[in-house]
Amino acid sequence: MAKYSFRVNRRSVSVDSWDPAQPLLYALRNSLGLRAVKFGCGLGQCGACTVLVDGKAVRSCSTPIRQVEGRAVTTLEGLGTPEKPDKIQAAFIAEQAAQCGYCTNGMIMSARALLNQTANPTVEQVKQGLGQNLCRCATYTRILSAVLRAAKA
């Protein structure tokens, strides 16, 4: 089995995998126990599995593990905790911007990537920035408010 070394949430890790094509998602969830990342479609269509690689949003369900060798991955666990949420998480909590919460990981990580690029996005920029993230409960209005609130925080 090959070993893949990279950083996750400011920590160095190495993960064994029999398959270089194995999506990062399975390494994060099952090898590293970082289960904020959710499997939604395996097709890069829904965004539930979003993580940051070197600050950019990527779909961990369709990113082979070999592609993150030596790079820096950030997951939702790396942002904050219930006691010390980061500003985006705090804004989602303040707006109660979740129903079932299955998409929340991807929404917050995509918002993080958006705010890294555009500190003060317009409504349209938020809609575009999170445009590839689906929420079946359709909590979009609150998620929009939360991202705008986070940008001002």
């Binding site: 939604g40 269509q45 539930a48 109660q96 911007a97 129903q99 919460g101 299955y102 929340t104």
Partner: protein, 710 residues
């Protein structure tokens, strides 16, 4: 706080869910919990008071992201007279919670909350007699994990609504901080020692038989074991990616079974399907009498296709099969129903089978949760280890039981005063069949099981809520339907209200009367009048007949529309108004504003309620604009988010909600009602803007463009 957050050793329950660590609630906790009552006549079935003064409440009504849990907590806190922060909730565990029925039909508050409230009121009376002080700060010392041994007293006095301090407040949901930090446990995250990952390989067509399995096709994937039971074939391994690859790679040969009619022209297929029986639901006055030639008469046909629950996360279950005691972790909305059905199907006594609810991806009814649990059950039983199965995207879209196709024909007439004189609705709906819905894996494995069919109360709201002397509603219950069915949010009502409220608008247009005025003329119920007035005032309703004569601004036609209904003709009152632009050249609908006035009696948690209403409306907007399960002769062909699109972020429209609180009335559920007027409000707004009547869901851009050109 919820079950898995606390660790209690004082006798009630020991639970510790920790990521990466040991998670073993099933058999162990059953030992720790000798004979906790679950009889819904007993107060102790609903409440446990601990030595530290905290209280655990037990309910079979589960929170699937609806905010039900905090609302029930508020109701108990109010009645017991303790703060919300002292209460934890255990939900949907067949070993620990009383059976209050599954979570569906908007009964979470009306049954779950009301029963808990009565148990709490009974407990408060008893505690005061035992010497509790008014704010219950000494109940820990007084009771300290002992049982109260009390029957629930249906007459225990309830607090007066005017004295409420907790009910009616926007208390924050305790699950949200966890969901926002990745620390909430979903069933997809459950891991138990020794657990394997599994996947089932579904046949290429409904009813296909497995001819052969080429085990050698998996030679390059390590550690995979194949399980075959007649036509059921699955794979298990320690590594999840290995089973995902294996399920995709395994070569299997099947018979072809092209038994489906295909979804093209499904409305015609339904119209011509064999009828099992007719049922007359409403028969008032005489709809058959001759109508004077001078009156205006209309008829129209409306269509709603098969739709999927389309859960964002594919269904998942973990099953630990053991001859002495089997545990299923599931996000099913009906853990007790699942236990009863699995017990019958697999021949296990109910007391040796425990179903534990764990949060899942939103299910909006019965998605693939039961079927994936059956997959995991068969695999666990075959390999003697706990097995976790999560469906893949195509499994969920193709194989979840579907919301039914609905065809409605409505005929109506206006009298000489332009009031509705006659109304006749005919519905073509799949007939119910007694018994549980068949589980996919169980059929495949050749195990006998019931082949029931049902999709909930799908024939409600087929009659107009407006004064009409002659009304008849008839259902033609059809013998067969191509796909498996189940309850999908607001079962049947969304399509029925779409038809009834669209047709009402058609009558208003024929009468040349403003659609709001036309409705108000037929209403005397003040609660109905209030929601209609409120929603339309909020949108800035311009009173005039439809279509809009001054509608064009460049290429864009503008208009407004509304719809009203009373859920199940007995529950919530909801009115929704919308403002739209329609692009003449492309047929694109640009929805600009949505307003909603909502009356569900007593409001328990206004913020949770608003969240539900916003979600109801936007989710149904997606169902109206985009969603249709398609299939060919063999299989479902809408199998991902490209072939089965739902509302996306860019299409989001702000929703303005007015809550009409009625503290003096009982609370009603709100997870469904606001879905029902959405499609009609949109169709009516598009008609006002463009003069084109949309009667077939989904409202595809191409079809509207074609109608605009003709």
């Amino acid at each position: 706080m919820r079950r898995r957050d606390f660790l209690r050793t004082s006798g009630v329950i020991v639970v510790s869910f920790a990521f990466g660590g040991a998670l073993r609630e099933g058999a162990a906790a059953q030992g720790v919990e000798p004979g906790k009552p679950v009889d819904p006549r007993e107060v102790d079935s609903f409440l446990a008071i601990h030595a530290d003064g905290s209280v655990t409440i037990y309910t079979s009504k589960v929170d699937v992201g609806t905010g039900l849990s905090i609302a029930m907590t508020q109701m108990v806190a109010e009645e017991l007279g303790i703060p919300v922060s002292r209460i934890s909730v255990v939900e949907g565990d067949t070993a620990l919670t009383p059976d209050q029925g599954g979570t569906g039909g908007s009964t979470g508050i009306t049954r779950g909350g009301i029963e808990l409230r009565q148990a709490a009121a009974t407990a408060r009376e008893a505690l005061l007699k035992l010497g509790a002080n008014a704010d219950m700060t000494n109940i820990g010392a007084l009771v300290g994990d002992k049982r109260l041994d009390l029957k629930v007293d249906a007459k225990a006095p309830l607090k007066a609504a005017k004295d409420y301090t907790v009910v009616g407040k926007p208390v924050l949901r305790p699950d949200v901080p966890k969901k926002c930090t990745g620390t909430n446990l979903f069933v997809q995250d459950v891991s138990v020692p020794g657990m394997l990952h599994g996947r089932a390989i579904r046949p290429p067509s409904f009813g296909a038989k497995l001819l052969s399995v080429d085990e050698d096709s998996l030679r390059n994937i390590p550690g995979v074991r194949i399980v075959r039971i007649q036509n059921f074939v699955g794979v298990v391994a320690d590594d999840e990616w290995a089973v995902v690859r294996a399920a995709r790679t395994l070569k299997t040969n099947w018979t072809d079974a092209p038994t489906l009619p295909g979804s093209e022209m499904l409305d015609r297929y339904v119209r011509n399907s064999a009828v099992d029986r007719d049922e007359t639901l409403v028969n008032r006055g005489d709809t058959t009498g001759a109508v004077p030639a001078s009156t205006k008469q209309l008829s129209a046909t409306y269509w709603w296709p098969f739709q999927s629950h389309a859960s964002l996360g594919p269904s998942c279950a973990v099953v630990d099969f053991r001859p002495e005691s089997t545990t299923i972790w599931s996000a099913s909305q009906g853990p007790h129903g699942m236990r009863a059905n699995f017990s019958r199907v697999f021949g296990i006594p109910e007391d040796k089978l425990r179903v534990i609810f764990v949060d899942g991806s939103g299910s909006y009814g019965s998605n693939g949760n039961d079927d994936v649990a059956a997959d995991a059950f068969l695999l666990s039983r075959a390999v003697g280890r706990p097995v976790r199965v999560q469906w893949m995207r195509e499994d969920e879209h193709a194989w979840d039981p579907k919301g039914p196709p609905q065809l409605l024909e409505i005929r109506g007439a206006l009298d000489s005063n332009n009031r509705i004189s006659t109304w006749e609705t005919q519905m073509w709906l799949p007939a119910g069949v007694q018994g549980a819905r068949p589980l996919l894996a169980v059929d495949d494995a050749g195990i006998q099981q019931p082949h029931g069919r049902g999709a909930g109360q799908i024939s409600q709201n087929g009659d107009p809520p407006y004064a009409t002397p002659n009304v008849k509603v008839v259902v033609h219950w059809l013998k067969e339907t191509p796909l498996r069915l189940s309850n999908l949010r607001a079962p049947g009502k969304i399509a029925n209200v779409f038809a009834v409220e669209s047709f009402t608008d058609e009558l208003a247009a024929a009468a040349g009367i403003d659609p709001v005025e036309f409705r108000l003329r037929g209403l005397t119920d003040q609660r109905a009048i209030d929601v209609i007035k409120r929603a339309t005032e909020m949108v800035g309703w311009e009173a005039r007949p439809s279509p809009n004569s001054r509608r064009q601004a460049g290429n864009v036609l503008t208009g407004r529309g509304m719809a009203y209904m009373r859920y199940k003709q007995a529950e919530n009152y909801v009115a929704i108004a919308m403002e739209v632009g329609v692009d003449r050249s492309t047929g694109r609908i640009n929805l600009r504003r949505i307003t909603c006035a909502h009356d569900c009696g007593l409001v328990v948690n206004p913020d949770g309620l608003r969240n539900q209403i916003e979600g109801c409306i936007l989710q149904t907007l997606g169902r109206t604009l985009h969603e249709e399960t398609t299939f060919n002769q063999s299989r479902v062909t809408s199998v991902d988010w490209a072939t089965y699109p739902i509302l996306n972020f860019r299409e989001m429209v702000p929703v303005e909600v007015a809550l009409i609180d009625r503290p003096e009335l009982p609370p009603l559920g709100a997870g469904e009602a606001a879905t029902a007027p959405v499609a009609a409000a949109l169709a009516n707004a598009v008609f006002d803007a463009a003069g084109v009547r949309l009667r077939s869901v989904p409202f595809k851009t191409e079809s509207l463009r074609a109608q605009l050109k003709s």
